[in-house]
Amino acid sequence: MILVKNKYKVLGLVIALLCTLFFMCISVLYGYADTSLHTTIQSFMNFDHSNEQIIIQNVRIPRALIAASVGASLAITGVLLQTLTKNPLASSGILGINAGAGFAVVFALVIFNITSLQAFAWIAFIGAAVATVVVLGISAAGGTASTPIKITLAGAAISALFASYTQGLLAMNEANMDQVLFWLAGSVQGRKIEILLSVLPYLVIGWIMAMAISSKMNVLALGDDIARGLGLKLGLFKFIIGIITILLAGGAVAISGPIGFVGIIIPHFARKIIGTDHRWLIPMAALLGAILLIVADVAARFIIMPSEVPVGVMTAFIGTPFFIYLARTKGGRT
């Protein structure tokens, strides 16, 4: 932990917030069509329907906002799930929640011929919720899935399960494949601000709830037995964490499609910087998550210009080395 005193922790959060805003500006300014800060300000002050201004208003700003809120939500989910499952590798991607959402969308597309992004969002929400219930249910039921490696494997297998059903549906319906593929890769490109606005209330509720339970998360982190001894109603509390996970992971996936690894990497970095106290950790992770996704999204525009790398692929490329490092240092214990 780098920041020990509360004074410095506040400072750290402020700096992270400023960084987030800075990168959001970068995200708005740079891309296939070059724009300037002046045009951006002009587009708000006096909108003249020029191409640049329309791009900024309709494409870049929604995109930056979406990247920020998705990144923040995924990071918070990661913190909660890692503490809940006592597993340094837990995140919504690893535990199969993203795959559940992906399957739901493909199912709706193939069986009911639904193709609008707006509809995808709601269906993804449902899929993520179902997968969350299944995974957390399995881990709560105890059984063989209680240790870190086993819950990770359980999640991986549930991902594999949903993935193979998804592939099966896609193999039977090649016509609509290109629409779904891009969604499945996870991307914040081409999402309208309406999608964000319709999901945002759920995300905000999730963020507030996460902050509200942050001091109790510290108690949970001590272990189930101690937490129970300290008067925490474990069953109810875990249920609440489940609800927050559905709100945040489901909402994030609904907007952007499955984006992996943000939820794994960010909590570890945040812990390194600000320590394990969840009251500081959760906001810090949220900001860092937002920064990571915004930066990854900006980078995604430039790598194979003029087309784009889906940001989910970017985070997987950034995240895998880190995941392997974690698995080598922390995950080797059974």
């Binding site: 494997l153 193979s164 059903y165 099966g168 193999a171 494949m177 080598r328 080797g332």
Partner: protein, 351 residues
Amino acid sequence: MKKLKSIRLFNQSVSFLVDLHIAKRAAFICFLAVMAFLLSGSFGESFISPIRVIQAIFGYGDDYTQLVINDFRLPRIIVAAFAGIALAVAGAVLQGMIKNPLASPDIIGISAGGGAAVVGFLALFSDLNHSLTVSIQWMPLAGFVGATLVGLVVYLLAWKDGVTPSRLVLIGLGVSIFLQALTTLLMIIGPIHLAAEAQKWIIGSVRTAEWHEVQIMVPVIISLLIVLSFLVRHLNVQDFGDETATSLGQSVQKFRFTLIILCSSLVASAIAFTGAIGFVGLIAPHIARRLVGSAFGLLLPTSAAIGAFLVVVADIIGRTAFNPLEVPAGVFTAAIGAPYFIYLLLKKPKH
């Protein structure tokens, strides 16, 4: 009292301890697999009775039946059966080695490696008009190389003063997510026909099997199985833990490395021709262990028979249930495998 019989071959370099009572069950499973094999010859566009199938295989019967059976159906069934055998045996060995019942070739990234290699192959050798510049016959080779390489890479990344099973699984998991991202990327930037072709491969199907594929696949798998059967009795010792195995004179790490490579190549040679048929490597060994126990002498042949049975039956269903639409076999192995897997997770541990 168990009736045990030891079988020693080749100057004692191969030995199995076989419980005769349980051996009967294993024989019954093999019988089922053979029946599925014959039935698979019967079903299709036109029904041909199993007896005529046997006649046709041995060269009797009318021209039409012989054409349908020997040229159209038989290669496909053989490919399905051998893919099942290879996947199931690799799964059984991996589960024994990793000592985790949830491990399987699809989970530790070997299948994903094959998938990424095939998509990479299609992307790399497509010209501007989206047609392949080299023969599609090379695709299995790409799949094989990819899967084996990934097996090796996962092993090396998991190495830190030796390889522990759980680290191997976690690293495999990370690598396979990475490879899936790579596959998605290649499919998105590549032409759409590539996506369709790759999709079929990723889900796993035996639809395109032909005789010349059988001629490569079967000898490779059989020779790998022979090598494995020499080695596999050492796995029984590993069940006691690394320390005990070492003190009994086994070079645990070297042995683990050999097995990983053998399993990777076994899986690779199956999925190179069929695509990544999922869950067979996971559930076949489980069912086998239920039936014949966990000593590898009987476990491997029984797993093999169950694996063959599963893939052949999945293929029969896939080709008849939604006629005229063909559903890839991998969808059905997942349909059987997934619920079973969840059952495994929910089951309380015995100790």
